[in-house]
């Protein structure tokens, strides 16, 4: 049962990712991205990362995706729902990326992976919080400054020219 669930989630993720890349209309790509992100969140659950799944849904879908859709709406006429978009250098790109994918998959398949056997923890939030406040305190603070900087930068860039 859970195997089936896993594979269906994996399929949705990959398929919608394909939609994101290949769709001719931008708004469809955005919708497809929603499903990809949801799929990734599902994968996190399978990986016992319940907190990460929540963050994925909140930040990616609630924040970034909404931002992207805003971006689409702001840069195109809202009335024309068919916001077409085209691709460049498709064949060459497909060949190179295809070769790259083959390399990746073959090396993943060849590698002798070592897996430790552990039991599922009851919850991860406490441990992640501890880590953030102790071992990763400095990166955490730096990240907060980065966010502040990007906030100011974005506001600065997109404001109306005087």
């Amino acid at each position: 049962m859970s195997e089936l669930a896993f594979w269906s989630v994996a399929f949705v993720t990959v398929a919608s990712a394909g939609m994101v890349v290949f769709s001719g209309q931008l708004i469809y790509s955005a919708i497809a991205l929603l499903f990809t992100l949801l799929g990734v969140a599902g994968l996190y659950i399978f990986l016992w990362a319940d907190f990460m799944a929540g963050v994925q849904v909140m930040v990616y879908i609630g924040g970034i995706l909404v931002l992207i859709i805003f971006g689409i709406m702001l840069t195109h006429k809202i009335v024309s729902v068919k916001i077409s978009q085209s691709n460049v250098q498709r064949k060459l790109g497909a060949v190179v990326v295809g070769i790259f994918l083959i390399f990746l998959t073959s090396s993943i398949g060849d590698a002798p992976w070592f897996q430790m056997v552990t039991t599922e923890p009851s919850e991860t939030v406490r441990t992640v919080g501890r880590l953030l406040m102790t071992k990763y305190l400095l990166p955490f603070e730096v990240a907060s400054i980065l966010l502040l900087g990007s906030l100011i930068g974005a506001a600065m860039l997109s404001r109306k020219e005087e």
Binding site: V88, Q89, L92, G93, V96, V97, I99, F100, F103
Partner: protein, 682 residues
Amino acid sequence: MDNIYINSSIVILFLPLLAFIIQIFIGKRLPRQGDWVSISAILITLFLAAYMFISMLSQYDPNFKHESSFMWMDLGDFKIQLGFLVDNITIIMLLVVALISSCTHIFSLKYLEGDIRYSRYYAYLGLFTFSMNGIVLANNLVSMYIFWELVGVSSYLLIGHWFEKDSAANAAKKAFLTNRVGDIGFFIGIMTIFTAVGSFAFTDIFEGVAIGSIEGATLTFAGICLFAGAMGKSSQFPLHIWLPDAMEGPTPVSALMHAATMVAAGVYLSVRIFPLMTPDALLFVAYIGGFTALFAAAIALTQNDIKKVLAYSTVSQLGYMILAVGTGVYTAAFFHLLTHAMFKANLFFGSGSVIHSMHHALHKKHDHKTDPQDMRNMGGFKEKMPITFWSMTISTLAIAGVPFFSGFLSKDAILGGTLSFAQQHPQHFLLPMFGFGAAAMTAFYMFRMIFMTFYGKPQMPELYKDIHESPREMTGPLVLLGSLSIFIFYTLPYFNPFSTHGWFTDLVVAKDSFVPGNISAHEIAEHAHHAHMPALVLSLSVAGLGILVAGLMYLKKSLSADAWANNSGPLYKLSLNKFYFDENYDRFLYQPLMKLADKVAYFDWELYDKYFINGFGRITSWLSDISGKFDFDGIDQGLVDGVGRSAKQVGHSLRNIQTGRIQNYILYVLAGAILMIIIQAV
């Protein structure tokens, strides 16, 4: 430097400098534009100088001398020591400078009232006093030279005080440049002596002269060169041309610098260096001085500008002093310097007072065309300006050499010395003739000035009613200096008006020359003593003659000045036009020099530049053409450009990859990464 005399001299020296610094920087912002700063500084100086003078009198020692020096420069063998020398001559000179300078400061209060550069004027006066005291106190030629130049600068600044007038600016320039001519000589003289003796200090130099480290023609040369400096400062022929023009400066400045002190610096230098002058050099000095005395007096006869008369009179009197130095009676020269400083400063202040009231009267009538300095516009001022009249008359009597006045004593000493010199050396009979001739003329032109200004009918009656006596600030110095023209101040503690014998002759005693073989001071004095009587009679008679003629011409009008002028033919015109000196300098000195410069420039440009220099250029240009061709065709085109061209070809073909699209680049990066993986894997 714990000596009281040295210490007070240092204060005397630097106090005016302090006043200068205060005035130049913040003078304008001080109340009353800061004139009180300068005046209190100069009064303290006067007080100190008087104190030194009194203590000198109380010691009454002809050999009184204090010296102090310090190392200024120590460059191995080349050492320069600067220092102070305080002896009787120094103290008398300090007192003269302080006294006249104080009078000038006070006189200027009213004379320059409301001037646009009032504070700066006082600043420059301070600078001048500082420099003049520096000359007086120097015990060596280097510091004397430094202060000598500083005096030149302050003179330049003060003559050009009203530099908006072209004539004032030009006069300042002329004074400075003419002085420079003499100063170059001075400098050459200093260096000549330093090369031979190895020191700048007077004491060392005299010692070197005595032991013969410098002698003969070299010493004569050095002496004449040093004297050239004196010629420039003391305005001696042929460098006299600047002094009359310097009258463009404010009249108190003329009184201070161009009558009493600055021009006396040349005489002071001559007095100081007298012991090293050889007989030949002294003869040169004597002829220069004598000729200047006569010839400047001849010019003064016909001048109509009151200040010009006084200026030429000053030149003439300085000539007297130089003549005295040349004939060996240098103490008489210094004596005349002292008395002359008093009465000539007084005459200038008097003329300033007259000009001031003329100026005000003209100003009231809004008349800006009439020259307030022209004596032909004056006349009859005696009743209106009694104080000015009386003090000027006293000074005039003094300068004319009338007994009971100071000028008689000093002039008599000079003429006696000159006469005795001619008695010893009959071939130089011209020298006393210069002297007596000048004496007669002096009496004439001075009284002419007095008669034209103060006697007779007013020439401009409408102006006359506005003429009035000057304020107290101006008459005060007149009264003081006028009384100092009376003989008594110079002969104390004796009262014989016909003998110079007094504190001065007791304290300033001629010293023997250090030049081996020169006649001793005692002999000179002996000879002069014998010549005293005839000189006295002669000088009295020529002075009387001069006064008589002046009286007949300008007071009684029984002799017509115009008729005399016509009868004398070209002589009158020569005198009136100052012997055409400026014109002749222009014609014979400047123009030929300009022409020579043109010729040199022509040669330089047309021949040297065009053929020689440009020839080089042409050859170089030809050579470089060849090498350029080789460079360009061979190396550049073949080698250097070849590399460049092939690079260009490669770049051109590679350029197609550079699309400017970031996505292309990412693709290439990815392809490159794959390529590396493949290479790694194989």
